[in-house]
Symmetry: C2
Subunit: 346 residues, 2 copies
């Protein structure tokens, strides 16, 4: 009868007390047998395991979290899910968690700092084991939340001077400059810039473009076209067409990302402009399709999977209080220069 009223609350599932009773040990020993087996004698460990099996016991993560004020959740905030870039990053993270008892709680900030703050507030309440955030441009409030969260924090996608805790990424500015220098070395001179979304990392790639153009004395603001609109292949077509129409002599474009570059290629095919002879095209990120295009498209390979994998490994290491070797890891980038930037026809 007491049981009836009790059942209304819980679902009547076995608790660790039931396991302990059946195994003939105290609840705390049963708890230890599950969490720190090496601290329990082999005999009792076996009894507990048998009881767990017999009852079909599964621990309640909420009770565990309340009692220990920590969860097995690792909060991850990315600015976009539509973007293939983050899909690769997430793949790396999930792979790093293989066989680990942690779970990812994913948040999508949609490139909005206010949304990031809101998500961080929600995540921090849950006492996560670690937090991983994208970029280095958190608001003051967001930084404060991360600092107070009392768990390891990893910033990913780019590197900068002032990590909240740990960082793994690369320099978008250097990468942008490197592509443009390559275009110049290939013989292109009127090199336009096409950019969409223009989030902070895009801005820094544009900085790199400026660096390279200015040092070669080729800088010209009129061959830059950007929009805050989200990137797409169609947008790449439109932006390229606009730029090509208004800028006489344009002989190459550096696109902020690969979708835009693919769009530029399609528009060149549409306008019957030979690539790379009449127009050189370079993208950014080196998504899988770039190598498969006809002609193959140049891009900058970024180590997205590795950023995901390594950031998660760094987080796990810090959770387990292993010494931190390096707080800032720069994974660099690699130029993947293909047919689309082979040089102008002579």
């Amino acid at each position: 009868m007491d049981r009836t009223s009790r059942r209304r609350r819980g679902a009547g599932r076995p608790t660790i007390a039931d396991v302990a009773r059946l195994a003939g040990v105290s609840p705390i020993t049963a708890s230890r047998a599950l969490r720190e087996p090496q601290k329990v004698s082999e005999e009792l460990r076996g009894n507990v395991a048998a009881a767990v099996e017999a009852l079909g016991y599964v621990p309640d993560p909420n009770a565990r979290a309340l009692a220990s004020s920590r969860t097995d959740v690792i909060g991850v905030i990315v600015p976009s899910l539509t973007n293939n870039v983050f899909a690769d990053v997430l793949r790396g993270m999930y792979d790093a968690l293989e066989g680990q008892a942690y779970q990812i709680q994913l948040g999508n900030s949609r490139y909005q700092p206010a949304e990031e703050e809101r998500l961080l507030t929600t995540f921090a309440r849950q006492k996560p084991s670690a937090l991983i955030v994208s970029g280095i441009d958190q608001t003051e409030t967001a930084r404060a939340i991360l600092q107070d969260a009392d768990c390891p924090v990893v910033q990913i996608m780019e590197t900068g001077p002032d990590p909240i805790d740990m960082m793994v990424g690369f320099s978008h500015r250097d990468a942008g400059a490197a592509v443009v220098r390559h275009l110049i070395a290939s013989g292109y001179r009127r090199i336009g810039f096409i950019g969409a979304r223009m989030d902070p990392r895009s801005q820094r790639r544009l900085q790199g473009y400026h660096d390279a153009m200015d040092e070669a004395g080729l800088g010209d603001p009129s061959i830059i076209i950007t929009t805050p609109a989200p990137s797409s292949v169609t947008l790449g077509r439109h932006l390229f067409r606009d730029l090509a129409t208004r800028s006489a002599g344009l002989d190459a474009v550096f696109c902020n990302n690969d979708d835009l570059a693919l769009g530029a290629l399609f528009e060149c095919q549409n306008m019957a402009l030979p690539v790379p002879g009449r127009v050189g095209i370079a993208g950014f990120n080196d998504l899988e399709m770039m190598a498969a295009a006809t002609p193959s498209l140049s891009s900058v390979r970024t180590y997205r999977y590795d950023m995901g994998l390594l950031s998660m490994r760094m987080a796990l290491g810090a959770i387990q209080e292993e010494p931190i070797e390096e707080r800032i890891v720069d994974l660099g980038f690699e130029l993947a220069m293909r047919d689309s930037t082979a040089g102008p026809a002579t």
Copy 2:
């Protein structure tokens, strides 16, 4: 002094008891003021709100979950994150949650039923408010977990006869058949099938291909090529090349998805086979790039965003115990037939 030892456990954050004390009410009234404001007089509600503000109180979701045996988490399991298809679905889900106090917990089953079971076990323990899973081919164990989870369940991406609870999707078989019928109507005869991954939904699209080919008397197993490998543009190139090389007279291909179709287009350009005159190409899903390609690529538009949005709305409705109008919602599909299937050159 008592405080010192207490601080070790919790982080010393204010609790609802602190709020209640400051507001001059009992803890339970403070709790109600936050969760069911209409049950508390306006005066006390104001006092509680002021106390919350003054202390910077944030409720502990873990304690809340333990006491009420429910969380504000909605578990979502998708088979892939690399796939743009699910990015759109997730966007719809997040949009449906706008302004709601629920959170998504995302799991990636990687197209592995065993992984799905594992994730469901983990999710179910947490007493989620709802669960959303992809596809209709759950294992017996997975179905049992979902049934026992004691929360609304929505299966998405396709429809079928035997919903666990609710369902929103469309018929992949009908969609596959519809494209192929269109290709036949456009004048193509030797229509090949190119498929990667071959998960259950891909299998059903292939079924549809068979339906249409057989009813036209054009069926020929030798012009079907499939692989369990994950889809990619490069793979599309390779598979198309293999198929075109070995099948004389091939005049069109229906690709399992858009990545493969794009790869087929690139390979046609590479092999100098005019599209659509010499080869017709159709994909599946109608990703954004399809309309932007040169020539524009035909595909089947699927309502991915809407599946995400609606599935979440159905889940929310069921959580709030609104009456369920329809358990199975078929959102259908639409043929997006473009230049790449304009018909063979005569």
